[in-house]
């Protein structure tokens, strides 16, 4: 098969409109939500499992590398495809195939948008719990690949706790089913291993998710604190009281400012930090726990504790949290975010490190993160057009990741390793640990045709290049 024949062959499978091979069009398939960029050899947009399987078979025979792409909101370069590779994108496979109210499940295609699914099943009195801040855009297929999290994963667990079955196309085009309606099955938990494999094990073509019934009561608190230290203490106090709220998020002063620049989320401008806490459950339970949460907040030095009066106010508080990253655009044109995790009791220590790093490197850092499970998102704000600033930010990020590892934490809580963090893997795993992981990949994809070159260190240090405007060479007239 020549390379031209290859394109012809996949065109006969999906139709001419859905094979993209002109470089000018490929310009828009070279990025995801992160920084890296690479123009794929071609992009194919299949419409169903059969097309996926046939395309994969053809690519396998042609010896090609294949990289999946959902909505391209990933933050670790997962969907970035090398020029020799074929990108297989799922926006057309976006049907919700079935909602089962007895078993509380939904069967969807991988291109379904997270929020669309949640909105749809709410019509049946249920919900899809994982709620990444990108939920308006990200796809279920991408969520599975990254094992995406979100604020409400504190109580309900990340994507892996909510995906019970999958139809998967392997690198050679074979279709297999992992997991299913029955929550337990004989044999190895391939479904569990697959979630979070960053597109290296197989291509997901159907997804069976577990849905939760809607709670009787939801109550949202805004704890207002004079500084970040006291807010951290409050987090420990709440968890230490034996309370695991549905969500527990922290927003620091700088992030408050950014958010309030764009929209009035109801965060006080002069607060040192706010905690957004949500309780869900039976009326009696929420009442009972509310008292304890409020007490814990006051005891740890809250300046004020507010409760959202109605859905509109609750919505407003959450909009602020969920648009925070975008709102950083009002402070600086660029940001770089670290996704490290530390044990919850180490939050204070870690955030002190963050501010120390911020000072030492002269980089502004904002913090808006999943405090309840210790998942930080220190976010460096800068103008990449200034020469040298990118390198500086990368060095600061490396220090922060090292600190997370030192404190008994890890590199990534929800965004994945991808290209971006692969060289940092030795901070938390030995060669033997990683060899064991690689064995699983060998079992799923013996030829290593799916998204190769991600996750594991191979010496090719990932380094985002400087912004064009920061380059002295005048190639960008």
């Amino acid at each position: 098969m020549t390379s031209y024949e290859f394109l012809e062959n996949i065109r006969t499978v999906v139709g001419d409109d859905y094979v993209i091979a002109h470089q000018e069009d490929l310009l828009v398939y070279e990025y995801d939500g992160s920084v890296d960029r690479s123009m794929p050899g071609a992009v194919v947009l299949p419409a169903d499992t059969d097309q996926v399987s046939r395309v994969m078979r053809i690519a396998y025979e042609a010896g090609l590398t294949v990289v999946g792409r959902g909505s391209g909101t990933g933050l670790s370069g997962g969907a970035i495809t090398p020029p020799e590779g074929l990108q297989i994108a799922f926006p057309r496979m976006n049907r919700i195939l079935d909602v089962d109210t007895v078993n509380r499940t939904a069967l969807v295609e991988p291109g379904v948008i997270n929020l669309d699914l949640d909105n749809h099943v709410r019509g049946f009195g249920m919900r899809y719990a994982p709620d990444p801040s990108s939920q308006r855009a990200c796809s279920l297929g991408g969520n599975i690949a990254e094992n995406a999290g979100g604020p409400h994963c504190l109580a309900y667990g990340a994507t892996t706790n909510h995906v019970i079955g999958m139809e998967v196309v392997l690198e050679d085009g074979e279709v297999v089913h992992l997991g299913g309606l029955a929550r337990e099955a004989a044999g190895y938990d391939l479904r569990g291993a697959f979630v979070g494999s960053e597109g290296t094990f197989g291509i997901t073509t159907k997804i069976l998710v577990r849905l939760l019934p809607l709670p009787e009561t939801v109550r949202t608190f805004l704890g207002i604190f004079p500084d970040i230290d006291s807010a951290c203490t409050a987090v420990s106090a709440v968890i230490g009281h034996g309370i695991v709220p549905a969500a527990l998020e922290m927003i620091d002063a700088l992030s408050i400012k950014a958010v309030q620049n764009v929209t009035d989320a109801g965060y006080p401008n002069d607060a040192g930090a706010v905690l957004l806490i949500e309780l869900e459950g039976l009326n009696e339970e929420v009442d009972e726990v509310s008292g304890e949460v409020e007490a814990a907040l006051w005891d740890t030095g809250a300046a004020d504790v507010r409760v959202a009066e109605d859905d509109a106010e609750r919505e407003r508080l959450w909009v602020g949290r969920k648009t925070a990253f975008g709102a950083f655009g009002t402070i600086a044109p660029n940001y770089y975010l670290v996704d490290g995790v530390v044990p919850r009791t180490r939050l204070t220590q870690m955030l002190r490190k963050v501010s120390e790093v911020s000072e030492r490197y002269g980089i502004t850092i904002a913090n808006v993160f999943h405090a309840g499970d210790g998942n930080l998102h220190p976010c460096m704000l800068f103008d990449a057009r200034e020469p040298g600033v990118m390198e500086n930010a990368m060095a600061a990020a490396a220090e922060l990741m090292e600190e997370c590892a030192l404190l008994g934490g890890t590199l990534s809580g929800e965004h994945g390793i991808g290209l971006e963090k692969k060289e940092f893997m030795p901070l938390v795993y030995t060669d033997a640990d990683m060899a064991a992981m690689q064995r699983v990949r060998e079992a799923f994809a013996p030829e290593n045709r799916l998204n190769p070159g991600k996750i594991f260190p191979d010496g090719s240090y990932w380094r985002p290049a400087a912004h064009p405007a920061a380059l002295t060479v005048g190639i960008y007239a």
Partner: protein, 444 residues
């Protein structure tokens, strides 16, 4: 001519004679009629690694065990080998109540862990029969779960980090000590439920939950499984749905509450804080009273005792069932699962059924003496159950049955989709097939 020292001798040299179990005690390590050549009981992970490297060099098969409460599970061993007893690794390594995490060695028992965590009002909501013997490692390896699985999930949902010794003796870990982690592949879930065929688990880290401070078990007798199923499904759809909800028939029901008579018994297990518990119990009783024969509420110690009995039904210490089948099926198949109670399978009498309303599926249990039954007939009956379960969109795993019957079929049922991946996994992790050979699905 030099004589190679015996296997026991080689191992004693490696890990010390005190770590070799007396030959007279080998009977305790029987897997059905199979007996190990030697049983080694190393005191720590390094010594486990020594044993595994030795096995790797010699190609001798290794059958890991610890509490030996579930040795019945699985096909018969494929060949002779040694028993590797992990009960020596029983330390609580690191308990961080404020972080809500705990690390514990694989040989520690569930009861031991429960007790330590309870000091601080925490728990890992995993459960296995005979908690004072069942170990953490064994529970993870079998993937077994307790009666509250519908609310709390499976052991794999609580495991955040794991240390293992590979088939070649290499010690590796996966995951970590934080509750949220996507750094590298999720091997926690792969090792959980792998029946020790990929690696030997030496240590596990769990995330914790605050333990309910108050428990109640609400029991209701119904005149038949249909009315019990309706009432239970109704309760399951309420805001105050319990943590565990089961329908029991026959002997199983009798064991929970003999006073309830020969009827179908619905059992709801609720836990929480005092104020919400009042509502949970009252509303449940209110919902069931009009439709049930009798409704009874057990609190405090009685409730705890009932939860333990419920957990131990598949394998209690004194009078375990002679046969036990786990049905994996979706919740919508509740009527079909309950229907097993009326169907004799071949020569087998109809079983007692314990149906898990919220999670789906359940267990079929037989007490009495199956040894008298013809093994081939037993196998035919069990195969029939397996194909019936397959038609429900699930599977039946024979957790306990006479050894002679096992030669006639695979206790794990039909080979699942993705079997080729599982075979490749096994080859990758254990190329010489020395870990628990022959015991898992399709002879893995």
């Amino acid at each position: 001519m030099t004589t190679t020292p015996s296997i026991a001798g080689q191992l004693a040299e490696l890990i010390g004679p005190s770590a070799i179990v007396d030959a007279g005690d080998l009977g305790g390590y029987a897997i059905g009629q199979w007996l190990p050549v030697v049983a080694a009981k190393p005191p720590n992970a390094d010594e486990v690694a020594e044993v595994m490297s030795w096995a790797h060099r010699t190609g001798v098969a290794v059958y890991p065990s610890a509490g030996r409460t579930s040795t019945q599970l699985g096909n018969a061993p494929a060949r002779p080998g040694i028993a590797l007893d992990l009960a020596g690794l029983n330390r609580l390594v690191d308990f961080q109540p404020a972080d809500l995490t705990v690390s514990v060695e694989a040989g520690a028992t569930i009861a031991q862990l429960d007790e330590a965590l309870a000091q601080d009002g925490k728990h890992v909501p995993i459960a296995a029969p005979i908690a004072d013997r069942a170990t953490i490692g064994g529970t993870l390896a079998t993937g077994i779960s307790g009666p509250l699985r519908s609310a709390y999930g499976l052991p794999r949902d609580w495991l955040i980090g794991i240390s293992v010794v590979g088939a070649d003796g290499t010690q590796t870990k996966a995951g970590g000590k934080v509750v949220k982690n996507v750094t590298g592949y999720d091997l926690n879930r792969l090792y959980t439920g792998s029946l020790g065929t990929l690696a030997v688990i030496t240590e596990a880290t769990f995330k914790l939950a605050p333990a309910p401070t108050d428990w109640a078990v609400i029991l209701a007798a119904f005149d038949g499984v249909d009315s019990a199923a309706n009432a239970a499904q109704n309760l399951q759809s309420q805001y105050y749905a319990p943590l565990g909800l089961h329908i029991l028939t026959g002997e199983a029901a009798q064991r929970i509450d003999p006073s309830m008579g020969e009827s179908a018994l619905a059992v709801a297990v609720s836990g929480g804080r005092p104020a919400s518990m009042k509502r949970r119990v009252e509303d449940t009783v209110g919902l069931w009273s009009p439709v049930a024969g009798t409704v009874r509420v057990a609190r405090g110690d009685e409730a705890n005792g009932l939860i333990r009995t419920l957990t131990d039904l598949p394998a209690d210490a004194e009078t375990p069932p002679s046969m036990c089948v786990r049905i994996n099926a979706p919740p919508s198949a509740l009527p079909e699962v309950l229907a097993f109670a009326n169907v004799p399978m071949g020569n087998l009498p109809p079983p007692s059924v314990v149906a898990d309303v919220g999670f789906g599926g359940g267990r079929l249990l037989w007490w009495g003496d199956p040894e008298s039954a013809d093994p081939e007939n037993v196998a035919t009956g069990l195969r029939g159950i397996q194909s019936a379960a397959g038609r429900l969109g699930g599977a039946a795993i024979i957790e306990r049955c006479p050894d002679d019957a096992k030669v006639h079929f695979d206790v794990w049922g039909e080979q699942p989709s993705g079997m080729q991946i599982m075979r490749r996994l096994k080859r990758q992790f254990d190329p010489q097939n020395i870990l628990n050979p022959g015991r898992f699905v399709g002879g893995l």
